[in-house]
Symmetry: C2
Subunit: 364 residues, 2 copies
DNA sequence: AGGATCGTTGACAGCGCTACCAGCAACGAC
DNA sequence: GTCGTTGCTGGTAGCGCTGTCAACGATCCT
C-alpha cells in the first residue's frame, strides 16, 4: 500500500488522518482544539487514533510550535521532607495534564538557581515554579523577561514576579512565640540550622516577638549554616543550654531540630514541658506521636505544591487567576511539649487528625 | 545582511557555522563528537558558539536524531525518605551530563507503573531507571523490547532485564535477626507497613531466620497495607503487644515504624533494650540520636541512585559495564536499642560516623 | 607506482508536526 | 442580489537539526 511508515514503525499523524479520511492538519487540530472540528470528523479522527494506537511525537510538536509542554521546577533540596510534600503536590496536580515536570535542585544556592534558570529558559518552558522570593537580580530579570507564567512558592512577599503562593514565615514564627508566651514561657531560645531565607525570616519573627515583649536576648539564639538534622538539633540545644541554663522554652526552626532537642532533653533528664517547652516548625507526621507529643506550626505543603501547579497550568492556558498571590496560612498545633500542664501518665498517640488540638489558626 | 534569524531572535546552528566559516553540519558535529573535527575548526566553532551565546534546540535535535536525551525514572513514592535519597543520587549523577531526568511516581502500583512506562517508552527515552523487580508481565515485555539501557534499582534478583543495582532485602532482614539472636533475643516480633515487594522480602527473611532457629510463630508478625508512619509504628506495636506480651524484640520493616515503636515503649514505660530490643531498617539519620539510639540496617541509598544513573549514562554512550548486576550490600548498625547491656546513664549523641559501631557488614 | 585506507568535510533530504493563510459552503443583513 | 460573517477544512512551507552518503586529499601498504 502507498501509506509510508517511519523507520521505527511508529504511527504518524498522517496515518491517522488517512484512516480518518481527513487532512493531516485537521487531525492535528483534533489533538489541540477538538471543539474546532465538526462532530463527525472529531469522532472519525478519535477512533482512527485509537485504532492505530497513535502517540504524538512531542519533539516534532515542540519544534513546529516553538514551545514545549514542560513545567520547570526549581527547589533547593531533594531530601528535605518539606519539599517532598510540595513536590508530590506538584506532580499530582500535573498528572493527567499535557504538561510534564522538569525538576532541578538548586541546593540552596541562588547562583546555582540562576544557572539552572538560564538552562530552563533556553528551552522555552510552558511555565516555571521557583522556590522563594530571594532570587539574584539577574535571575529576577530573566524571570521578568520570560514569556511564560511563573509561580513563586513557599512564602509570600511584597513584589511577586508573577504569581505567588505560600505563607508568612515571619508571622508563623510570631504565632509560635505568642503561643509560648500564653503558656507562661519567657526565656525562649531559638535553634536554627541551614539558615536559608525562610528560616531567617522565622528567626526575624522570633526576634520581633521577643523584642516586643521586652524579652529579646541575643544569647538565646543558636544558629548554624550546617544542613539541618535531628542530631544537630541536639547539639545546638546543648550549646544553648551551656550558655543559657535558665531557658524555659525552645523554638526550633524545623521539626527535625525539635526532635533532636527532645532527645537531648531526655538524655539530660530535663522534663518536657515542665522544665522546657519545645515548639517545632512544619508539623511533620512524627510530631504527633512522640513522647511527649510535640507542638509545631503546621504548613500546607502539599496544597502549596498542588495549587501552584494547578494555577500555573490555568495561567499557561490563558486563564490567569483573579488572585495571583495566595496566602495558604499556617496553624500552630498545640501539643504536650508546650502545654502549661503536662497531662499525667501515658496517653495514646493522636491517632486521627480529629484528636488534634488546632488553634491559633491563620487561614486567610 | 543575508543571515536570517528565527522569529524569536534565537541563534541557530547555521549562524554559528557561518561565523565560524564552516558548514552547518560541521558545526553540528562539534557538539556531538568534537574529536571528529580538526583542531582548527573545533576552536573556530567553539569560539563562534560562545560569542553568539548559542543554545542548541533540543526539540529539533530530538526530531532529527529520532532519540531524546531524557532519562526516565519510575519510583513508587515521592515522600518516602528512602526514595528522596536515591533521587538525590540520580540527580547529582546526571547533573553536568547532557541527559535530563524525567520523574514519575507509580504510587506503589504496578499497573500505574505499566501505564507510565508506556508513556515514557513512546517518547524514546535515552535510558530508564525503574524501581524493583516486580513489574507486570506486560511491563517486562515492553522493557525487554525497549531499545535503550535500563537499570532496575533498590534490590537485586535473579533475572535482570538489563542492569540492576541494589541489595538483598531478604539477606538484610536475616542479618538483622541474626544480630538479635546474638543479643540473646528469642521472641522477636515483626512490624511492617505498606508491604510493598521489598518489605515483603524483608518479612520473608525474618520468617526464614526465625524458622531456621525453630522460633517462628505466625502471631509474632503484624503487618498492614496502610502507608507507613511513625504513628502507625506505635499502633502496630500496640497490637503486637496485646497479642504477644512476652516478646523480647521487634524488627521493624523501616525506621519510621521503629521510632513509633520506641515512642510507644516510652508511653508504656517499657525499657528499651532491657525489656524489648528494637531494630529498624534503612538507618535514617535520626536513628543515631534518639534515646536510646536505635539499631538499624544501613542501606546505600544515595550510592544506589548515583551509581544507577552513572551506569545508565555509560551504557547509553555505548560503554556497558562489565558488571551489569551490582550488589551494594548493607550493614547492621548496632546501637543501644538492641544491645545486651544498655550503657548506663546519659550519653552524648553519636556525633560523627566514626563513633558508630559498624558490624555485620555485607559489602560484597 | 597504484590502490586502499583514513581523517575530515559538505550536500542533501528529511524527522513529524503546526503556523499561517486561503478556500469554501452556509447564513444573514442590507 | 451582493456583501460580509462565521465555521470548518486544507495546502504550503517551514521549525532547527542530524543521518546518510559522497567527495576529497593525505597517508599507508604492497
Amino acid at each position: 500500500m502507498g501509506r509510508k511508515r517511519t523507520k521505527s514503525g511508529k504511527i504518524r499523524l498522517a496515518e491517522v488522518a488517512e484512516l480518518a479520511g481527513v487532512s493531516p492538519i485537521t487531525a492535528s487540530r483534533f489533538f489541540r482544539n477538538p471543539e474546532a472540528l465538526s462532530v463527525a470528523k472529531r469522532t472519525r479522527v478519535e477512533s482512527a487514533a485509537r485504532e492505530l494506537g497513535y502517540v504524538p511525537n512531542l519533539a516534532a510538536r515542540a519544534l513546529a510550535s516553538q514551545r514545549t509542554e514542560v513545567i520547570g521546577v526549581l527547589i533547593p533540596s531533594l531530601t528535605n521532607n518539606v519539599f517532598s510534600d510540595v513536590l508530590r503536590g506538584i506532580y499530582d496536580a500535573s498528572e493527567g495534564s499535557r504538561y510534564s515536570i522538569q525538576l532541578s535542585n538548586t541546593r540552596y544556592s541562588i547562583l546555582q538557581e540562576e544557572k539552572l534558570l538560564r538552562l530552563f529558559l533556553a528551552q522555552k518552558p510552558a511555565g516555571l515554579i521557583v522556590t522563594g522570593i530571594d532570587q539574584t537580580t539577574e535571575s529576577r530579570a530573566m524571570l521578568e523577561a520570560a514569556d511564560c507564567p511563573i509561580v513563586q512558592i513557599m512564602e509570600i512577599g511584597p513584589s511577586p514576579i508573577d504569581m505567588m503562593i505560600g505563607f508568612s514565615h515571619y508571622d508563623a514564627a510570631r504565632a509560635a512565640i505568642a503561643h509560648l508566651f500564653d503558656q507562661g514561657r519567657r526565656r525562649i531560645g531559638f535553634v536554627g540550622a541551614r539558615m536559608d531565607p525562610r528560616v531567617q525570616r522565622r528567626l526575624d519573627g522570633y526576634v520581633a516577638a521577643m523584642k516586643d515583649a521586652g524579652l529579646f536576648d541575643q544569647r538565646l539564639t543558636v544558629t548554624t549554616a550546617t544542613p539541618t538534622s535531628v542530631t544537630l538539633g541536639g547539639a545546638l540545644f546543648a550549646d544553648l543550654l551551656a550558655r543559657e541554663p535558665d531557658i524555659d522554652a525552645v523554638f526550633c526552626a524545623n521539626d527535625d531540630l525539635a526532635l533532636g532537642v527532645l532527645f537531648e532533653c531526655r538524655r539530660r533528664e530535663i522534663a518536657v514541658p515542665e522544665q522546657i517547652a519545645i515548639v517545632g516548625f512544619n508539623d511533620l507526621e512524627f510530631m504527633a506521636s512522640s513522647v511527649p507529643t510535640l507542638t509545631s506550626v503546621r504548613t500546607n505543603r502539599y496544597e502549596m505544591g498542588s495549587t501552584a501547579a494547578a494555577m500555573l497550568i490555568e495561567a499557561i492556558e490563558g486563564k490567569r487567576p483573579e488572585q495571583p498571590v495566595l496566602d495558604l496560612g499556617f496553624t500552630v498545633i498545640e501539643r504536650q511539649s508546650s502545654q502549661m500542664q503536662r497531662p499525667a501518665g501515658p496517653r495514646p498517640p493522636e491517632w486521627s487528625a480529629a484528636v488534634q488540638n488546632d488553634s491559633v489558626t491563620n487561614d486567610p
